[in-house]
Amino acid sequence: MDRQSIEQLLWVIPFAPLIGALAIGLLCALSPKRGSFPSRTVVGFLACLGPLASFMVAGGVFLALGKSPETTPVHQTLFSWIQCGAFSINFAFEADRLTAVMLMFVTFVGTIIHFYSIGYMGHDKGYARFFSYLNLFLSAMLILVLGSNLVLMFLGWEGVGLCSYLLIAFWFDDEAKAIAGKKAFIVNRIGDFGFVLGIFLIYTTLLKNGPSSLEFSFLATHAYLLAPVATIASLLLFTGAMGKSAQIPLYVWLPDAMAGPTPVSALIHAATMVTAGVFMVARMHFLFDLSPLSGQLVAGVGIATALVAALIGFGQNDIKKVLAYSTVSQLGYMFVAVGAGAYSAGIFHVFTHAFFKACLFLGAGSVIHALHEEQDIRKMGGLLKKLPITGTTFLIAWLAICGIPPFAGFFSKDEILWSVFNTWGAYGKILWVLGLFGAGCTAFYMSRLVFITFFGKNRSSTAFEKIHESPPIMTIPLIILALGSVLVGFFGIPEALGGSNVFASWLTPVFGEHTSATHSNFIEYVVMALSVSVAFIGITIAYIKYVRKPFIASEPRGIAAFAEAAFHVDALYRIVLINPLFSFTRNILFRVVDVAIIDGAVNGIAKLSSVSGGLVRRLQTGTVRTYLYYFGAGAALLMLIVYIGKW
């Protein structure tokens, strides 16, 4: 397809899933008997249609951008959205090469997860509601990615936040799950507040220097005007990214978000929504480029998150919680990359991570499905024999996340570590060492998960013979994603290994040439070998600990218990933030401001009129003569006043 027709079709990408969501929602609301019509087949078909259409158009965008010699973005303005004096926001979509990459994997992984959900959610009574939310989520995510200005991006940003809340609290009759949904929403709001302030700051700063606009193309060409506020503005935007992409200190919502159905965790909390923060930083790269300080802070927060989450991952026993912390940890790596200015490396990790993490989550879902909602890995074991497809795909994704060549994770993680190694001198080296250590931790806790779950003896309450592999509608997506986990890394083979890093050169028109230092290939080989050997060390330790010795479930003690309790971060937040806030609201805002001052004033006025009315009504005797006395007295008084006044 040529460029013009793609430009006309850009709207389809976000709107196709939106139409799907509305269609499913309306069909259910209008169906006479709940649950009878539309049938599950119809709903499943409708739900997959939207994402599939988006994927096809996204493919067209990708091809159009790849073919055309000029690299200007594909742009479509739908209508003028906000028009207020000089302030104007268009509802417009724009796709450059960065967007195209995001579009491709979001729609691809999204579509696969939709198919998987048909199998996974097959027996759930909220089947149609689930698919309606899932479609809505995808639509919001695509608006976020495609929006041509900050405000439209923020619309998508809030949209994914809302859908995340709806989907995490999907089984809302379980109170703990409903609370997890609320937590995700509230923590995200804190970040969003920073994002909004950042948008305001950018707009007002530009306004001082003439006409202002929030279009990305305008911002990119006028970025130099933002130089005085670059650090503050970029950090405010990063606050938003911290919430959405689960960075310290706002990461606490993501582990709890595992309360949602497993496909939700795979789609939202691994492949798409949590990557929005990384994408946003990459999108605003011209702003982050202006402030080296905020770049260093971003990378610092990233590495701290990567390490803390990895260490917590050591002690987790819920299969999904381990994956959740590993997601937080991997997101940390992405921020290390974008903080260091290696945007294409960060986006590359987003890209590969989407495949192997979705594969891991869906595999975990398949395990949970086979064991009848059992999530505790201590009650699993030996599942590789019983779940051959799930097990094999899980193992592939595991090797990918550990960073074993030639699986996808190796290339992206290595590129991140390499670019950090080359930036900032000593600070970069420290980050690199920490990142290397984190990679070893990742290998260890992921191997622990794999060994306990898939090797050893069966410890589940389900009889071993009765454990069945999931149906093809679930295993085929797993196979596709596992293939992706093997293959997508080859887009980014570094030059040192004889590749040409197609991924980085694809993104060069967006981020510009990344000036890599003139290190010899030899150092790059050493760095690579180090990260691979660290991964092997992690796997070996886990092998000795969990395979050589038979695994016995025991009460964790000491550091293990500390890690299992997620370092008591939730308790810390409760003591430091939530309790003071609650007591402030209850004792000051409620008891003093509301009850004493506001209610007091309202009730006081009512009381005053009632008391004064009670006094005045005594004058109304009802006898005509009394009124005459008043009348006479009034007249006499008036005359007196006139008399005195005349004097």
Binding site: Q620, T621, G622, T623, R625, G632
Partner: protein, 99 residues
């Protein structure tokens, strides 16, 4: 023209009317007291018209007479209805307005 005698008379009649309204309980006497006050006002108008030598006061006196006639009419009708309802014309018994 010496007017003080006329005005004095008008004031006297007026206060007789006021006094009557304040002390008598019968609705008829109440009405009659009002007529007295209106007439005292008429006397004052006419007196001042004579003093100032123009006709305005006379005109007003006529207006007030018409008004007094209408008022007597309505007042008597009210008294009749009042009597039918309560079998009495004592105004102090009508205290519903305080309730």
């Amino acid at each position: 023209m010496e007017s003080s005698a006329y005005i004095g008379l008008a004031i006297t009649i007026f206060f007789i009317g006021v006094f009557g309204m304040l002390v008598r309980k019968s609705a008829f006497l109440f009405l009659m007291s009002i007529e007295l006050m209106l007439n005292s006002a008429n006397l004052a108008w006419v007196t001042f018209a004579k003093v100032h030598g123009n006709l305005d006061g006379h005109v007003y006196a006529f207006f007030i007479m018409a008004l007094a006639a209408a008022e007597a009419c309505v007042g008597l009708a009210i008294i009749v209805l009042f009597y039918r309802k309560r079998r009495s014309v004592i105004l102090d018994n009508a205290k519903e307005m305080s309730k």
